[in-house]
């Protein structure tokens, strides 16, 4: 029994006091930051990223993963109670969660969220445990052409995140361009540094992430976040769902987990897509779709299960191929690379303690999350009452110190300011900046693999079509592109038609 032996290795690695401590700290900090109004999981991870430079690589990723699912959970608490989604995936939780809260069923909504998150996460973990070794074995056959094709697929899939695939694509390309800043690995030529020697090692990932998800969001949120509407008191009794709630939500959780697990494993599609798909599915198969948007419990259970399932299965491509499943994974991948670990097919065989230890600590982290959240919900809710005007100056200081500490240079603080203003402008012009970060992280990897593939084939582009695995990945990518174009053309035509009709009438 391979699986049991593997988990045995993992248990040994994860059940040390230090690992348990960092897992605990990660989940606690993640929930704490995630629940604060106006801060999402991405901001939480980028805020805590610099701290992990002071600890070992394995502890760092255990802590960051804990922060990730803690923050995601905390984010849905803020979404349900205040209608303040920190991320696109918790925006789905608002649709039915917030009406439930206004009908006095906030406790039930939060309880179901916790259970659904746990169910989704465990499903995702099972997939992760059974599938990663196979994907890694497949990955050993990959050459540079395959890696390039797969990353291309990931970036194309990421464009579907945005409302407009064209704008999403433009953000990906901008991210790729930003990743060109610094020293070119192949030739040693220094590109786009504008005379700043600090830029010769590239634009700092932490600075970019904090500028886009910290500073830009703060500028937008000042004077718009209102937390005064929150006045409910919580008792454990008010949280318990009725028998009817269970009957409706259990099948939804199962469907949500399945959808989330599937989309999580695909490179480039992560939590947001999964929760939208899960919500749409529930609405489609419900007997009475009218209830959705007015507090249907399935509308909370399915997306929550889906986004947590995909949060776990997104580790499959991240750890076994080194290709991030979504933007959060891209940040975690960046952290791993900074720690000197390059995830790839060899990771499972060369460092089994690291790989299986991580998986076991994910299980422990999810159990901790449930233990924290059900009894301590009152504390988390009181955090939601902190007014934003006290919060944002504090966060700005934490961002500045955090980014400064990475390389002890104030230059990075100026970078954050610049990126933050750019991010705010892009936000106002309704660009989704998330694909930008994905492009930025994949940029150097893609450039390296593309150039190597071209070098090996002596500049023959047919190498991408000659190799069967690469060809099939490219075919899938082409289908995805066609699908995107077709659906956006259809939408545009429909919008044009309705505009004409309203003119006539």
């Amino acid at each position: 029994m391979d699986v049991i032996a593997n988990l045995g290795i993992g248990l040994q690695a994860a059940l040390t006091p230090t690992m348990l401590w960092y897992c605990f700290v990660g989940v606690l900090l993640g929930t704490f930051i995630g629940v604060l109004p106006g801060i999402g999981p991405l901001a939480a991870i980028s805020l805590l990223l610099p701290i992990t430079y002071y600890i070992g690589p394995q502890e760092a990723i255990v802590m960051l993963a804990g922060v990730y699912y803690g923050a995601q959970y905390g984010g849905s608490t803020a979404a349900i109670l205040l209608r303040l989604p920190g991320t696109a995936s918790s925006a789905v939780a608002c649709i039915d969660g917030n009406p439930m809260a206004r009908n006095g069923r906030a406790g039930v909504a939060l309880f179901i969220t916790t259970i659904a998150s746990f169910a989704g996460a465990i499903t995702g973990l099972i997939i992760l445990i059974f599938f990663s070794p196979y994907i890694a074995k497949l990955g050993l056959k990959f050459g540079s052409a395959e890696y390039f094709a797969l990353m291309l697929l990931g970036l194309v899939a990421a464009c579907t995140f945005s409302d407009s695939p064209l704008k999403g694509g433009a953000m990906v390309v901008l991210g790729l361009l930003l990743s060109m800043i610094g020293t070119d690995v192949n030739t040693g030529v220094i590109r786009y540094t504008f005379g700043f020697f600090e830029l010769s090692s590239g634009l700092s990932l932490v600075a970019l992430a904090m500028g886009i998800f910290g500073v830009a969001d703060i500028i937008r949120n000042i004077n718009t976040i209102d937390t005064s509407g929150l006045s409910q008191r919580f008792t454990l009794r008010s949280m318990l769902p009725s028998r009817e709630d269970w009957r409706l939500s259990l099948p939804s959780m199962a469907r949500g987990s399945a959808i989330g697990s599937f989309f999580g494993t695909l490179p480039g599609t992560g939590a947001s897509i999964s929760s939208f798909m899960a919500y749409a599915t529930e609405k489609k198969i419900a007997k009475d779709p009218q209830r959705f948007g007015k507090g249907a419990i399935e509308g909370v259970a399915a997306p929550e299960a889906a986004n947590n399932a995909s949060a776990q299965t997104a580790f499959v491509p991240t750890l076994t191929l080194g290709i991030p499943g979504d933007i959060t994974m891209a940040l975690i991948l960046g952290a791993l690379i900074i720690h000197g670990i390059t995830p790839g097919p060899q990771l499972i065989t060369s460092q089994p303690e690291l790989f299986w230890g991580l998986i076991v600590s994910f299980i422990i982290g999810n159990i901790l999350l449930v233990l924290f959240n059900i009894p301590m919900i009152g504390i988390w809710i009181s955090l939601l009452k902190i007014p934003y005007r006290l919060l944002y100056p504090t966060i700005l200081i934490f961002i500045s110190v955090g980014v400064f500490s990475v390389s002890n240079s104030t230059f990075d603080i100026y970078t954050v300011v610049g990126i933050g203003v750019l991010g705010y402008l892009l936000n106002m012009l309704r660009f989704d900046p998330a694909p930008l970060l994905l492009g930025f992280i994949l940029g150097p990897l893609m450039e390296e693999h593309f150039r190597r593939a071209m070098l090996l084939s002596r500049g023959n582009l047919e190498t991408f079509i000659d190799r069967p695995i690469s060809l099939s990945i490219l075919v899938v990518t082409a289908i995805a592109v066609c699908f995107i174009i077709a659906s956006s053309v259809r939408r545009r035509l429909r919008a044009l038609n309705t505009a004409k009709e309203s003119h006539v009438s």
Binding site: R389, P393, I397, Y424, R492
Partner: protein
């Protein structure tokens, strides 16, 4: 304090498209100093130039198709942008010479300006609390290498 708000009544897609073309054109122009090379032996300028051209093309498509849609106003909170940027720049400038406590205090006093409701006493108390907290966490707790105070 009255916050300056810049409301632009423009087509945001057109504006966005033009912005992309601008960035792409500049990156292309700047990237020309790096050798282009060939497909078999790519120079450092190969991908930057290809990507800049892609960005320009995408910006062009966006700007052209934007004419099919009605324009809408965008509110640029110019005051908030300036206040937040100024507070962080001040922090960066003060950190080395004046220490974390001073830099954090000044930065919070400035950044809290962006909020419409905060009062002067509240602002001072907040700045003192945040500066104290930051000093405790980062210097006492994590032992980071930065001065606490002037000198």
């Amino acid at each position: 304090m009255v916050m300056r708000k810049l409301t632009l009544k423009v087509n945001h897609e057109l504006f966005g498209g033009l912005l992309l073309i601008g960035i792409g054109a500049y990156a292309y122009y700047h990237g020309q100093q790096y050798a282009f090379g060939s497909l078999a032996r790519m120079g450092p300028g190969f991908l930057p130039q290809v990507l800049s051209m892609m960005l320009c093309t995408m910006g062009g498509i966006l700007a052209i198709t934007s004419q099919l849609k009605p324009s809408s106003a965008i509110d640029l909170q110019l005051g908030q942008v300036l206040v937040v940027a100024a507070s962080m720049v001040l922090f960066a400038m003060l950190l080395r010479p004046a220490g974390l406590f001073t830099a954090a205090f000044v930065s919070v006093v400035v950044s809290s300006w962006a909020d419409r409701q905060i009062t002067w006493p509240g602002r001072i108390v907040l700045a003192l609390v945040v500066a104290g907290l930051a000093s405790l966490i980062f210097i006492v707790g994590l032992g980071m290498n930065m001065p606490l105070w002037w000198g």
